[in-house]
Structure formats: C-alpha cells, structure tokens
C-alpha cells in the first residue's frame, strides 16, 4: 500500500508529538503499522471474533508504553513485537500454545535430508503452472499459526530475518529454519490438494 506523496513525518517525530500530548498523532502511527499488526493478529488468532479487541489492546499497550520506545528498533518492529507478545499471551490463556503443535515437526524434512522428489515431476509441473492465488489463502490457512505468521511477515510484509527475529524473540537461525519448513509445508500442501482434486 503506497501512501500519497504528501509530507510524511518521521516515526521519531510522531512519537515525540504523541508524548508531548498531541494524542491525535497516534492515529497516524496506527495507520502506518496496522498492516503488520493485522497480519500478525489474523495469522496467530484462530477465532475471528477475538481479533478486533486484540488489535485494539495491542495499540493501547503501545500507547501506554510509548515513552519506553527508544528508537533503537523501527517503530513498526517495536509495535509488531507488542502484537506478537499480546497474541502469544492470548493463545496461552486459551491454551492454544504455538510450539509443539501436532503436525509442526512432522512437516520437517530437515536441511540435510536426501533430495527426493516427493511428487511426480509431471504432476508438479502441472500444479504450479496454474494460478496459485485462487488456492493460496486456503492453503496458508491450513498451516500452523507460527508458520502462517512467518510466511506473512517475510513474504507479504517483506520484513528481514532480523526484523522477524526481533518481533518473535526467536533466534535468527530459528526464524530461517521455521520459514524453510513453512514454505516446504505450504508447497506440499498445495501439491497434495491438486493431486487429490485430480483423482
């Protein structure tokens, strides 16, 4: 989403304005970061009805703790971290923990695994020749929440590994490894769906 080419104040300026009492400027901060926050909330929270309140809570937390923002990270990354932690807290409360979910480890082949072609090449060639966008949303939705989130942050929000590591408090190597598994699982899921439809 590209913003209009009008003057756009820096994150630091906006934060200072809000801290000096110009609370209305916080709306600009929300509009700048809502893509990232929405991505995290939609991917991590399975119940759509809970998402609006959670998104609101995330921004109220950010507002209350704004004085603690030190400009060491990007403002969006800082708010993304609040979003991720708020969602994790919600999942813990609802006993929907991220790690150790069934199917999460099963999807892994590992970087050192033999390079087998799991799907017959002629099938594979047919799958990805089609328009993927039609099936993509449904296939992403089948992934575990953490995988969905990593795919959303990396491929749709176009964050770097370092930024994702900052948001999720995971080591960068772990982010890379999970993202590898997530993409592999997504590709296999798409292949499986097409194969099932072909039968």
């Amino acid at each position: 989403m590209s913003r209009p080419s009008t003057y756009s104040p820096s994150d630091q300026y906006l934060v200072e304005q809000v801290l000096q009492g110009d609370t209305a400027r916080f709306g600009e901060i929300v509009n700048r970061t809502k893509g990232l926050v929405t991505q995290i909330v939609f991917k991590l929270i399975p119940h759509p009805a809970d998402r609006p309140d959670l998104a609101q809570d995330i921004y109220l937390k950010a507002f209350r703790h704004l004085a603690g923002f030190r400009h060491q990270a990007k403002l969006s990354t800082w708010i993304g971290q609040i979003a991720y932690n708020t969602c994790l807290h919600y999942l813990e409360k609802k006993r929907l923990l991220l790690p150790g979910e069934p199917g999460l480890e099963a999807a892994e082949t590992g970087p050192g695994a033999p390079a087998l072609l799991a799907v017959a090449p002629e099938v594979e060639a047919r799958l990805f020749g089609q328009d993927l966008t039609a099936v993509l949303a449904a296939e992403i939705d089948k992934l575990p929440p953490l995988y969905k989130t990593l795919i959303g942050l990396y491929h749709q929000q176009e964050l770097s590994y370092a930024e994702i590591a900052h948001i999720t408090s995971l080591p960068e190597g772990t982010v890379k490894s999970y993202l590898f598994r997530a993409r592999k699982a997504l590709k296999e899921s798409i292949e499986a769906t097409y194969q099932r439809d072909e039968l």
Binding site: T23, F26, V37, K43, A113, A115, L127, A137, L186
Partner: protein, 158 residues
C-alpha cells in the same frame, strides 16, 4: 550428472537468490530439468505470496483505537461541559448579586483597572476555549479521515 539433486533448502535459496549458489550446484541445475522445475515452483509460490491479498479489518482501526485513548474523544466533551457550566454559574452569580454589587466593585477600584482585568479574563477564557475546540477538531479529523488507499482495503482475510 553425478551431483545430487538440490535439497529443498537449496531449491528455496535458489528460488530467492540464484546468485547465492556455488558453481557445482549451478552446473547441476542448468543440466537437470527436475531441479529447474522445483526451483520454478518455489519461484511461482513466492511470487504468488507477494501479490496475495493481505488480511484487513472491515472497520477503521485507527478510529476505534482513538475512541479508547485516554484524554481524547472521551475526556474532551466532559471538560467542555464543565467549562460551560462554570461560565454559566459565573454569569448567574453576577445577575443574582445584582447591579448594586457590581457598582460597589467599580467604586472600590478604579474603573480602568477593573475594565482591563475583565477584558484580560474574558480573553484568556475565550482563547482557551477556542484552542480546545480547534484541537478537538484536528484530532477528530486525523482519526476519522481514512487515507484514500484504505478505501480499497477490501482484501479478504487470508
């Protein structure tokens, strides 16, 4: 072709950045249709992910948050009403105490000093009221005006 096929990880890396691969791998991929296809599949997947609709709420998140911020939309009307009430109470008190009291006041101090004081007091109250009004208008405008691109945000939740 003696080198093994690309691993999944290598295929992903290649799809993202072909220049990161070493010469042996490159030689293999150029000669191996299976690996080329696998890389192409990942490239298609990454490209589709990039252009897929992003999740979006069907309401104005900034306005919703604004309604909950301390001291913005909620606190202001009460402050305004309190200020108006005070002004009204003051006016009533003046009327109730009658012109006699006012005349006494004017007699006690020099007429010029009282007039100056009254003008100053009215100016301060007026300026404060106007400042609050403009500030409230500006806040409401910023919060409630959607950026144009938001109107096209009708993306389906992913």
């Amino acid at each position: 072709m003696n080198t093994p096929h690309l691993s999944e990880q290598q295929a992903q890396q290649w799809a993202e950045n072909a220049s990161s691969a070493d010469a042996t791998l490159a030689a293999h991929v150029w000669a191996c249709p299976a690996c080329q296809r696998r890389v192409a599949d990942y490239q298609a997947l990454f490209s589709a992910l990039k252009t897929a609709p992003q999740p979006a709420f069907d309401f104005n998140l900034a306005a919703r948050v604004a309604g909950q911020l301390p001291g913005v939309t909620r606190a202001f009307p009460w402050a305004f009403i309190a200020l108006g009430g005070l002004g009204l109470a003051f006016a009533l008190a003046v009327v109730a105490s009658g012109w006699a009291a006012l005349r006494q006041l004017f007699q006690a101090a020099s007429a010029g000093a009282v007039a100056l004081g009254t003008v100053l007091a009215v100016s301060v109250v007026l300026a404060y009221g106007l400042e609050m009004l403009f500030r409230h208008r500006r806040q409401t405008e910023i919060f409630l005006s959607l950026p144009r691109e938001l109107q096209h945000d009708g993306a389906q939740p992913v």
